[in-house]
Amino acid sequence: MARFTTDVVVIGGGVIGTSVAYSLARRGIRATLLERGDMASGSSGACDGLVLLQSKKPGIHLRLAMESRNLFDRLMEELPVPIEYRRGGGMVVIETEEEFRAMEHYVQEQRETGLEVALLDITAAKSMEPGLSESLKGAAFSPLDGQVNPIALTHGFALAARALGARVLTQTEVKGIRLEAGRVTGVETDRGPFSAGVVVNAAGVYAPSVGEMAGINVPIRPRRGQLLVTTATKRMIKGGFISARYIAAKHNPELAKGKGEGIAIEQTESGNLLLGSTREFVGFDWRTTVQGLRGIARRTMAVLPGLSDLNVIRSFAGLRPYTPDGLPILGPVKGVEGFIMAAGHEGDGIALSPITGELVAQFIAEGRTEIPLDPFRLERFENSLSPPLAGYKGEREKKAHGVSDEN
């Protein structure tokens, strides 16, 4: 088998990995992206495309989201695939009086950080989105929220990276990471070895397995989100919808307890409605369930009752890479020179993919980043390093339940 040499190996062909490869290629850095299945065959191919600012906690998380969002216009021009990015606005739908009161505080805080957002009563909300149920209390609306096509975005990054000289390989599985005296020297794959001084772990929910190969403990757990897809139909909603339930809970944690799941809804360019979601810790189970299907249907009907006659033609589930503090894990890892983390975006991967690619590439190229990576580093968690093992080969988490790399 041929022996390949490259500057950077990026592990994972989802939206994060391909964004990193693209940003590296734009800087003239030789990159090789390795994906064991198809592009976007993991979480990036099993999610909605909401690009929201409202759901981000004011502070570093919101700042990251805003920087990322600003990059989408450029990407629309640069990527060879239509990524279907549009700013149709976003509604945070409020179902109870307590939620409304909590949202009053939250919206106030958001406006103080400069976010354009307004709290609307149900009449005002309905004038913008007539399909909303009368029984809702209102909604917080921001015109800055939008959506994109996650698969097109991933494909766009990958094809653009390749056009700029990156090597993009699918059906190629990384089996181990080569270490010498605490430095990365390359990876082992089922197609032979690749030499590289830098390895980027962009393996999403499988990032812990990749971390293990380098003796690193990555605290990412899969959190399943189920989605229903309706048949294509005329435009029924202008923007995206999510529930206030979880956002309000950031101010009043009581609100999140025992209330079950919230909704996440968008209508894509092709006219299908994506109806979500669930938040379940079920390990690596990519299946959808009866409870998931029926629960999402019920919760959707409570918000947009006019959708009742639409046919549901498909469902799928994605595994969000969940971290204990809700922030992604980005940047270098102490003790393993050349090993860079770029995973753990839990439900924000699509929205944060542009900025993640840029920050990681900037760090690799210049050793510094415009937005400091300290709040995102792996070291913020304890026990991030097991004793370093040279040439360690870890076990990959297998996809459970006979799921092929298709969604």
């Binding site: 299945g37 993009v168 229903l228 029926r294 019920r298 469902s315 799921v403 298709e406």
Partner: protein, 469 residues
């Protein structure tokens, strides 16, 4: 609230009905679900669901047996829920079901039998999406269930026995068949006839069909390909040409036929969506028609207490379906602790018969295969995914960009993401990928199937009320 029963049978065709008859009158709670308005599946169709069968010759013996299954079942009091779609099979053997009243409910069964039969496959040609181009099955259904001819004059074409059987049916009922365009040739059929003396009676049926057709003035044109269906908003004419022994179009042999209806039939694809969604192991067996559910000798799948019978375990016709329905019925009785006294002896005999029918099926399936290179001649503008309007050019472009698995193509092109959930285009895409990547079709992965396996109203999923099935 989940309702429970002892056995749930999905599909009331030959296999499902045969199983239900074996299971009846043993004190078990049996539910049979079928999506069609009438009981009997694709093969047992009678006008308006009546019990009268218009006279015929081939398959008549088996059809009479099938009709007896229906009447016997009615006498046993086993209820068949018609117009009922099964949307998925979940852990605990729980079926999600949409009743004829449009309401969704859950039914849990100790044993489940998947017997959803097969559907037709298609070889796309330019213009095949024009209204007026239909499947041979569609024409058969019109004739048998609704007493209607597909048109005053019908052009028939395709591969295998389907076009001939339809042409015979149309002629018998006083309709005109303009011609039968046979993609293979008489030589192929004679060659296959030699292969299995024991199936001679069935194959002689085939030979007599051709003879009868010729005698009634129907022109049979062997070794042709349909090149294009032409028309503005509906079919007006069909262009075809002869092919040589190597499958290449012989230039200068193009001919045109004016018609408002073209019925095409090629082969079958087993309806394995429910077992796939449930997580049953499947295998690719060309002699059984492609991707089928993997079953043991007693027709249990890789999932405990989930059985499969009929075309879903292999395309081989009505007799195999009936035999397998019986086998599954007996196996389920054993599993539920109420075996029939001479069960082992019966099962031995049925196993032998099953082997016979599988051999016959292998011939049938070989008749319905074209070498995978045929896809290379599909013109760029030909629609491949009808639901999403995806053309061959779009697929070629995606393949050139490196999207070379069914899942990758689905993501890159959207083929298979429409209302039919990939049922029409998946077999075609498999052949395209096999030809393009020089891989055997068995190495192209089977699709991953998620519920609902048939379209269902969002409102129905959301309701808490139980369906009265």
């Amino acid at each position: 609230m989940i309702r429970t029963c002892d056995v749930a049978i999905v599909g009331a065709g030959f296999a499902g009905l045969a199983a239900a008859n074996v299971l009846a009158r043993k004190g078990l709670d049996i539910r049979v679900f079928d999506e069609n308005p009438h009981v009997g599946g694709q093969l047992l169709r009678r006008p308006g669901g009546s019990s009268h069968v218009p006279g015929g010759f081939e398959f008549d013996g088996i059809k009479q047996s099938g009709l007896r299954l229906i009447t016997q079942l009615a006498r046993c009091g086993v209820k068949v829920s018609s117009g009922t779609q099964v949307l998925g099979l979940f852990p605990g053997n729980t079926l999600l079901v949409e009743g004829g009243d449009g309401k969704v409910s859950e039914v849990s069964a100790r044993c489940v039998l998947c017997a959803a039969g097969a559907r037709e496959t298609y070889l796309p040609f330019k213009g095949w999406t024009l209204p007026g181009v239909i499947s041979t099955g569609s024409a058969q259904i019109l004739i048998k269930s609704s007493g209607m001819l597909p048109a005053k004059e019908t052009l028939v074409g395709g591969l295998g026995p389907l076009p001939f059987v339809l042409a015979r049916e149309i002629s018998r009922h006083g309709g005109k068949v303009l011609a039968v365009l046979d993609y293979a040739g008489v030589a192929v059929k004679i060659g296959l006839m030699k292969a299995l003396p024991r199936s001679l009676p069935k194959l002689l049926d085939g030979a007599s069909i051709i003879t009868l057709l010729t005698l009634s003035g129907v022109r049979v044109r062997p070794r042709v390909r349909i090149l294009q269906a032409r028309g503005k908003t509906r079919l007006e004419s069909v262009v075809a040409a002869r092919v040589g022994a190597d499958g290449q179009i012989i230039s200068g042999t193009e001919f045109s036929c004016k018609t408002e209806c073209l019925a095409v039939g090629f082969g079958f694809a087993p309806n394995i969506e429910l077992p796939l969604q449930a997580g049953c192991a499947v295998e690719h067996l060309p002699e059984r028609g492609g991707w089928v559910v993997r079953v043991g000798d007693l027709l249990e799948t890789s999932l405990e207490n989930v059985f499969a019978a009929g075309e879903v375990t292999g395309i081989a016709g009505a007799r195999k379906s009936m035999i397998e329905g019986r086998i599954a019925g007996l196996a389920i009785l054993e599993r539920l602790g109420c075996p029939v006294p001479d069960s082992p002896h019966l099962l031995q005999g049925l196993a032998r018969q099953r082997l016979e029918e599988l051999r016959y099926g292998a011939i049938l399936n070989r008749m319905c295969r074209l070498p995978s290179e045929w896809v290379k001649h599909i013109p760029d503008e030909t629609i491949i995914c009808r639901c999403e309007d995806i053309r061959m050019a779009d697929i070629r472009k995606a393949m050139a960009q490196g999207f070379l698995t069914p899942g990758a193509l689905r993501k890159a092109c959207r083929c298979g993401l429409g209302n039919c959930q990939g049922r029409i285009c998946s077999p075609i895409l498999r052949d395209i990928l096999a030809a393009e990547t020089n891989t055997g079709t068995d190495r192209i992965s089977a699709p991953s199937v998620r519920p609902p396996i048939k379209a269902v109203r969002l409102g129905a999923l959301a309701e808490n009320e139980e369906s009265v099935t």
